[in-house]
Amino acid sequence: MTTQVPAPGRGAAPERSGRVGGGLLDPRQLLVSLPGALVKLNPATLWRNPVMLIVEIGAALTTVLAVLDPSFFAWAIAVWLWLTVIFANLAEAVAEGRGKAQAATLRAAKRDTTARRLRSRDSAEWDVVGAPELKQGDFVVVEAGEIIPGDGDVVEGIASVDESAITGESAPVIRESGGDRSAVTGGTKVLSDKIIVRITQKPGESFIDRMIALVEGADRQKTPNEIALNILLAALTIIFLVATVTMQPFAIYSKNVNPGVPDSLALTGDGVTGVVLVSLLVCLIPTTIGALLSAIGIAGMDRLVQRNVLAMSGRAVEAAGDVGTLLLDKTGTITLGNRQAAEFVPVTGVTEEALAEAAQLSSLADETPEGRSIVVYAKDAYGLRERGPGELVNAKWVPFTAQTRMSGVDLDGREIRKGAATAVMKWVRDNGGHPTDEVGHIVDGISGSGGTPLVVADRDHVLGVVHLKDVVKQGMRERFDEMRRMGIRTVMITGDNPLTARAIADEAGVDDFLAEATPEDKLALIKKEQEGGRLVAMTGDGTNDAPALAQADVGVAMNTGTSAAKEAGNMVDLDSNPTKLIEIVEIGKQLLITRGALTTFSIANDIAKYFAIIPAMFAAVYPGLDALNVMRLASPQSAILSAVVFNAIVIVALIPLALRGVRYRPSSASKLLSRNLYVYGLGGIVAPFIGIKIIDLLIQFLPGMS
């Protein structure tokens, strides 16, 4: 869950074939991932995670010490230190495991196919070659029932294509040459007709190849914030390493100035015993976040995949969290695609009902979305039943033509027409009518408010005007208010004139708009925002969007778009739903918050561990230090072991959180911070006191614990 506010076009997409669901961690996954976790114990791979490498070295050292001087305590510590490393590896393996399952379904789509390669663009002759042999610029012909051998653009023909292998969507889509729906993806299947495709991919670098690599995390690179966090964690590790190692001379000194005190399991004349020293070090270094850091990153990418978005790099996901300006296309993102009837404005002497009825009659045979919306509105607002064209036997339907620019019906002596104001007025005048100025005023009023007026007339007199307007999707205003609270500026991009654009911008509640936008305008806007230091996110699908997509910090290309667009963007939305940009931003933020929250938690945990271990080590020498044993732990051994066990278990306990991400609710930065500080800062201080005490209560009865 990323948010509590339901909105259109979001929420968990219905479970698709071959996709691994998000949500809670299945305990079986832990078991399945165990072998992978053991393989990762190899220091050659573990060095990428310095914090855990130190734990592993500590575990090895403790094991040697336990062999040389066996005791239940030493062995127990050794085992739990190994478990700490294994749990950390497990977190990563589980996160990767989810990606692997997805990659497997993708691989199934990447069957080795053969291609019919044309000898030249216009040639009718072709050779059969294996799909891997195809190069950029080759032309292939694909017919119904065949698999498209590689990514490319349709250069000839039109076909319906089953893209379910990639999108999980079973309904076929239309792909045709020219325009913005020309891109096809290798591995998808042509269901009808025949197309000629120009291959645009390099061999072995198809879309599916990249998807597999991405979801498997094979070429996962650390993102900028992850690198920065790793540096901080390394610094903390060094500090605690120094604090622990330098404690040894202090301990020897303290022991020697109190010669009467007998040696204990924790402290001898040679200082703190190795096992205890390693235990303290492991408890202090930020193992919790160190263990979960890479799992958090992998899971973040995974959450995007769950929503059918492919990020080409983790960097892009992170940038999404930083976005300061969202550019949203009006049509399809902010408004429903088409204009809809919103009002019937009759002229004096005509009732609204009469106008509604005339408008409905004139639209019954009009299959354009605008026409349909008039019928629907007449029914909803005036209770006028929809009549099928066949019901009215005497009717003579007049279809819309580009010449007349109006449509209508001749019925029982009435000649009803509706259409663009100038066309209908001219028609009325031609029929001997004299439209009053009133009509002009109504038309101007509607135009001025950003709507589109359609005049309805009955032969020689105007009945009134239908007000068509862009309908803003439900819940958009709330989404934009949310964005504003998150500090994100929303800018609507539209080809409409400024007047219309302003009306819709006001209604939708976006912060700004760009009217009569050309691709150059878009690019200029992005550059302007970036110069001001803001990161820009946008969606696009057309080839002319490509420069802007490439310039934007987060460019989400629609899967239905051209390959140029997909190539330019750094994310692809397989559902081609522009509204998803908002979710992408939230996922980006959630990723960072999860890292920050677990870092805070990890450091806050140390306080309790000190209170467990310091009195355990030194109360024998300085009995006053037992006052620090605020948890009243049973014995030094059980105190130290409890801290180590807690430290290991907390990793496993937090794996689900790392995979799911911390709860994110769009709100201002300070509210978010307060909440997270409260939960993960204060919680991080308190939780280990309770956890260590409980573990101590359980293990104090084990042998060697007193």
Binding site: F250, Y253, T600
Partner: protein, 549 residues
């Protein structure tokens, strides 16, 4: 009484910090060079109009400090052949090294007794000069870092020579002049006379050494230096005569560090950001001063309870509270002047003085060094907090990326490593252990205090530890040198990388860094980081001692 003393200090600082902070803002941002300054630039051969990249700035600073170090070393080693030596022999090599480092690094750790080791020329031309310029260096670094935050798309962070000269000529000298007059009025000595020979009541002879005390005293406090003319430092009646000179000296210690946040706020164009930093400093300082007073007035140890108050090591004319407040002020800043002996404090009172220094001296810290230390802590806080609001962390519009966090991390690694490794080496080494006056946990505290003081460039001594040995002189000298200049290099690097950035405009998604929420976080991060780093050492030193009874 204690409360009134503290309250009047707070009031005085509250009144002064605004006009004084604004004055410093004008000093460091103005374009005009006064004729005497032009003369200095001409003599140094620098062009005051040119700006430096961070690396050039750092090179100038290091070169200046290296020359200072050599000159100061030479002055001490050759003092018998120069004027005004009072007949004193040349300073031994290890003390001369230790002292040269100490004064160039604004530490003023004194492994020697001032009146019986250094003649007037070394005191005035060597030590006093460094008291001014080492303070000006600290302020210059702080201002350079602030420029890093304030500038956009800039390669440069100012001109070191201009910052150095202006800090000395326009800030430190005028106040020192007025302050010295005030202290002379308060009964402090100011002369160049030879020692007075007196016959004591018991018939023995005693030589009373006077000298340019007041002038050195004022810069000792104002520049958070701390090196006393006399071995007894501000406990000596010639250095700190009365209750009100004590108040005035504390005021001098605190006035620049507490006014710099205002300068910072003005320079970054958001005064409220300066107030937030001031609030962090003030919160920690007030809590620390209060706790030190509570521990000392409570007198939680055997002897003080027997005699009724923790008066051992304190001057009767100051009393417990005014001594405790001085102790807290001197360790919260990098001053290191003392008017009482911290070694004799109650275990927890003594621990507070150590903890104050372990904080990295940021509340309010040394002149300049307090501000830049606090800003580095703010950067680290912003990093963790910024992640928790779901954005790449940014402070004052500047992104805290991997380069910035790397420099900030290295900054905060330096002093804890020096303190802990230094103390560990001393405790594991015959030469180190030889200096201990006390056994048990108190002995550990003495060594820990020495290395904490040196590495953080404080300069105060716990006393009790015999540090005038080659081993300690060399080891502590290294701690002072590394503890001063490594952090400075990292801070200047940070300034350079911040200045290059284009600031991100503020929005509702930006973590606000001027609210109590953020102030609380910085306080929390500072205290928790320090506590986690030093708890094992403190547990075996003052805590063990304090809980022993």
């Amino acid at each position: 009484m204690a409360a009134l003393f503290i309250a009047s200090l707070v009031l005085a600082l509250a009144l002064v910090h605004k006009p004084f902070g604004d004055h410093m803002y004008r000093v460091y941002t103005g374009d005009r060079h006064t004729p005497p300054e032009r003369l200095v630039y001409r003599l140094l051969g620098v062009r005051p109009g040119t700006e430096q990249r961070w690396s050039a700035y750092a090179r100038s600073l290091l070169a200046f400090s290296a020359v200072s170090l050599l000159v100061l070393y030479g002055l001490q080693r050759l003092q018998d052949r120069l004027w005004l030596s009072l007949g004193l022999p040349p300073v031994t090599d290890h003390i001369a090294w230790n002292t040269a480092v100490s004064f160039v690094t604004n530490t003023n750790w004194q492994a020697y007794s001032g009146e019986s080791t250094m003649g007037h020329l070394v005191q005035m031309a060597g030590l006093a000069v460094q008291n001014f310029v080492s303070a000006a260096v600290g302020m210059a670094v702080a201002i350079a870092l602030v420029r890093g935050f304030a500038r956009r798309n800039s390669d440069t962070i100012g001109n070191f020579w201009v910052d150095l000269v202006r800090g000395t000529v326009r800030i430190l000298l005028p106040i020192a002049f007025v302050g010295a007059l005030v202290l002379v009025a308060g009964g402090l000595v100011q002369n160049l006379a030879a020692p007075h020979e007196l016959t004591t009541l018991t018939g023995g002879t005693q030589s009373i050494i006077g000298g340019p005390v007041a002038s050195q005293e004022v810069i000792k406090e104002l520049g958070t230096n701390g090196g006393g003319f006399y071995n007894a430092n501000s406990a000596h009646p010639f250095e700190n005569g009365t209750g009100w000179t004590n108040w005035f000296e504390i005021f001098l210690i605190l006035v620049i560090p507490f006014s710099l946040p205002r300068t910072f706020g003005k320079m970054v164009g958001q005064v409220r950001q300066g107030y937030a930093i001031l609030a962090v400093m003030a919160t920690i300082a007030l809590v620390s001063v209060t706790l030190t007073n509570v521990f000392e007035l409570g007198g939680g140890a055997t002897v003080p309870q027997a005699v009724g108050a923790a008066m051992e090591g304190k001057e009767v004319r100051f009393g417990v509270a005014n001594s405790a407040t001085f102790a807290a002020s001197t360790t919260l800043t990098s001053t290191g002047a003392v008017n009482s002996f911290h070694d004799s404090y109650t275990p927890f009172g003594g621990m507070m003085t150590m903890f104050n220094m372990m904080l990295g001296e940021v509340a309010p810290g040394g002149v300049g060094s307090g501000l830049y230390g606090m800003l580095v802590l703010a950067v680290i806080t912003v990093f963790v907090a910024g992640l928790m609001v779901g954005r790449t962390p940014e402070y004052l519009g500047k992104k805290i990326g991997s380069r910035e966090i790397k420099l900030a991390s290295m900054y905060f690694l330096v002093t804890p490593i020096l303190v802990l490794v230094g103390t560990a080496l001393a405790m594991g080494n015959e030469a180190g252990l030889a200096g201990l006056l006390n056994g048990g946990p108190h002995g550990l505290s003495e060594v820990l205090y020495a290395f904490t003081s040196a590495s953080n460039n404080n300069g105060s001594a716990f006393a009790g530890l015999t540090v005038n040995t080659p081993w300690y002189d060399v080891a502590l000298g290294l701690c002072m040198l590394l503890g001063r200049f490594l952090p400075i290099i990292f801070v200047l690097g940070l300034a350079g990388s911040l200045a290059r950035q284009t600031p991100v405009p503020e929005s509702a998604g930006t973590l606000p860094t001027h609210r109590p929420q953020f102030v609380g976080m910085v306080v929390g991060v500072t205290i928790i980081l320090v506590a986690l780093t030093f708890l094992p050492a403190l547990a075996l030193g003052p805590i063990a001692e304090g809980l022993f009874s």
